[in-house]
């Protein structure tokens, strides 16, 4: 239980940190921020890699989770990068 309390702290502090860091984002960056954050949520890939695979079902679930998280990661970062490259100042 103690571990959960500790991790709960990490969770709350990270959310608070996130709110502080991004609170003044200019509207030009709304889409890239969303897309870039979306790529970060592909961190589920790490979770998917850590899954134990004792049964066939679990192996299948792990494989699918890794695949979809990877689509999220690669697609997200590349599309964000493409988008940001378009924003130009005179």
């Amino acid at each position: 239980m103690e571990t959960y309390i500790l991790l709960g702290f990490v969770l709350i502090l990270s959310i608070y940190l996130g709110l502080e860091l991004i609170s003044k984002v200019p509207s030009t960056l709304h889409t890239p921020l969303m897309s870039g954050a979306n790529a970060i949520s592909g961190i589920a890939l790490v979770g998917a890699l850590l899954l134990t695979a004792d049964s066939q079902l679990q192996t299948a679930l792990a494989f699918l989770a890794v695949t979809f998280a990877s689509i999220n990661v690669f697609g997200g970062y590349l599309v964000t990068n493409r988008m940001l490259k378009m924003f130009k100042k005179k």
């Binding site: 921020l33 979306n38 949520s41 979770g47 899954l51 990877s70 697609g75 100042k89």
Partner: protein, 455 residues
């Protein structure tokens, strides 16, 4: 023990990179670098996780497959389809956490808290997945279902049932930990409920929903981190949850509505506007007259909306802007935060057309000096320029911050027909003395003005 220590140290390093990355992503000058840093953070975290995984070959195959599909989509997609792509990727992230929690259920959660976490993560991940798929289908106009149709109502009902079922399974039944039938019901209800969550939400409210789904995918990842006792998942997931939440709030504020009103009520319940009688007549204008007025203008404000995206008019708009500038006219773009179908939609379209981002202004920047603007050109925007929002307390959109183009000397409204905007509210702007309606496809109309300029 040694290995997991190394892993955790690297996870801390990776978390620092994520935090720095997302901070830099929020500023124009550093955004590209910020995205790159967060990609490195991801790479490092994944790499170090590989040290002790159980069946590397299958998982490497999964990564390879995902990398191939993801990169293909990202590099092939047209910039105009960005909103639906973001929704789709978001859904895949949600699906991944859904599958993770499902798999963890089969490892028989060993305590009550773990069980509650697994159930909640399944739910949040699953709702994000199917909800994002519906958002994708709506944005790419693959489905068009009325809010009032029976299918919509059916799915909405399932959504509420799924919510009750989740609460029940979290609060009442933790004793049934190994009941697979019960869990299967939750899986199915969750996936169907996600459809019902997004289906009734209309196109103009999409910016809010996409931001919210974005936030949920982060929350789901953070929950998965709690299940797996993994710090980097918690940190990165929380950052995404927070950034999505901020965007959601910004979008809701820009509509002057609460998030719950957007999600669960919609505009349908808005009181009927009474002003629909005293509207008078509209003043149409043709392309060559529009050209003459623009040619003599010394300052022009362009206000794009979803109609510009539909007509794919951003390139001719940029061309018009350049011609006006060559002509000595000061050109600015007024961008409303909820114009279009996702946060920042207009900014992306104009950036794609090579419009420099320093001429893009927010409502607060353009409104105070609106009376010095000679011509405001409204391209396929409606509700975000509706003066009812400031003048008519009974209107459903009263109080919404708008771009006050009606205060400009002349207003051109480019529109295909006289239909009302997404909110279903008639727009008095069209009947104002200083408004000229330029009917027709926005791309053709502006193209016409552009060729007049060139002659």
């Amino acid at each position: 023990m040694e290995i997991s220590l190394i892993q955790n140290i690297v996870y801390i390093f990776s978390s620092i990179l994520f935090i720095t990355g997302i901070k830099m992503l929020g500023k124009e000058d550093t955004a590209v670098k910020g995205n790159f840093l967060s990609a490195i953070a991801m790479f490092v975290a994944v790499l170090v996780t590989f040290i002790n995984i159980s069946n590397p070959l299958i998982l490497i195959a999964g990564i390879g497959l995902g990398a191939f599909i993801g990169s293909l989509i990202a590099l092939k997609v047209k910039m105009t389809s960005i909103p639906e792509m973001v929704a789709l990727f978001n859904g895949f992230g949600g699906l991944a956490t859904f599958l993770i929690a499902w798999s963890e259920f089969n490892s028989t959660p060993d305590n009550l808290f773990q069980y509650i976490l697994v159930m909640t993560t399944v739910y949040v991940g699953g709702i994000t997945f199917t909800g994002s798929l519906v958002a994708y289908a709506k944005l790419s106009e693959k489905i068009q279902i009325a809010k009032t149709s029976i299918i919509t109502k059916l799915f909405t009902t399932i959504f509420y049932i799924s919510l009750v079922f989740l609460l029940y399974s979290v609060i009442v039944t933790p004793l049934l930990v190994t009941n697979f039938e019960f869990f299967t019901v939750l899986l199915v209800l969750t996936l169907l409920g996600g459809i019902g969550f997004v289906l009734p939400i209309g196109g103009g409210d999409m910016p809010v929903v996409i931001s919210l789904l974005n936030s949920l995918s982060g929350i789901a990842a953070a929950f998965a981190g709690l299940i797996l006792l993994n710090n980097v998942l918690i940190v990165a997931g929380s950052l995404v949850g927070a950034s999505g939440l901020i965007l959601t709030i910004i979008m809701a504020k820009a509509m002057n509505r609460s998030i719950s009103n957007i999600l669960f009520v919609g505009y349908a319940s808005a009181s009927s506007s009474k002003s629909s009688e005293e509207q008078g007549e509209v003043n149409p204008i043709n392309v060559s007259d529009a050209y003459l007025i623009l040619e003599n203008a010394s300052s022009v404000l362009i206000v794009p909306g979803y109609g510009m995206a539909v007509a794919q008019a951003q390139h001719v708009v940029r061309e018009l802007g350049e011609l006006l500038e060559e002509n000595g006219t000061e050109v600015k773009y007024g961008i409303h935060p909820v114009a279009g179908r996702m946060p920042g939609h207009m900014n992306v379209l104009l950036a794609e057309a090579n419009v420099s981002y320093d001429v893009l202004a927010e409502p607060d920047d353009v409104n105070p000096s609106m009376d010095s603007v000679d011509v405001a050109v409204v391209i396929g925007a409606n509700d975000v320029v509706n003066p009812s929002a400031t003048e008519e307390p009974g209107s459903p959109i009263y109080g919404m911050p708008i771009i006050e183009v009606h205060n400009a000397k002349t207003v051109f409204v480019l529109k295909r027909s006289m239909s009302s905007g997404f909110a279903g509210v008639q727009n008095p702007l069209f009947f104002k003395q200083n408004t000229r309606m330029l009917f027709g496809d926005a791309k053709e109309s502006i193209g016409g003005v552009v060729s007049e300029f060139k002659d």
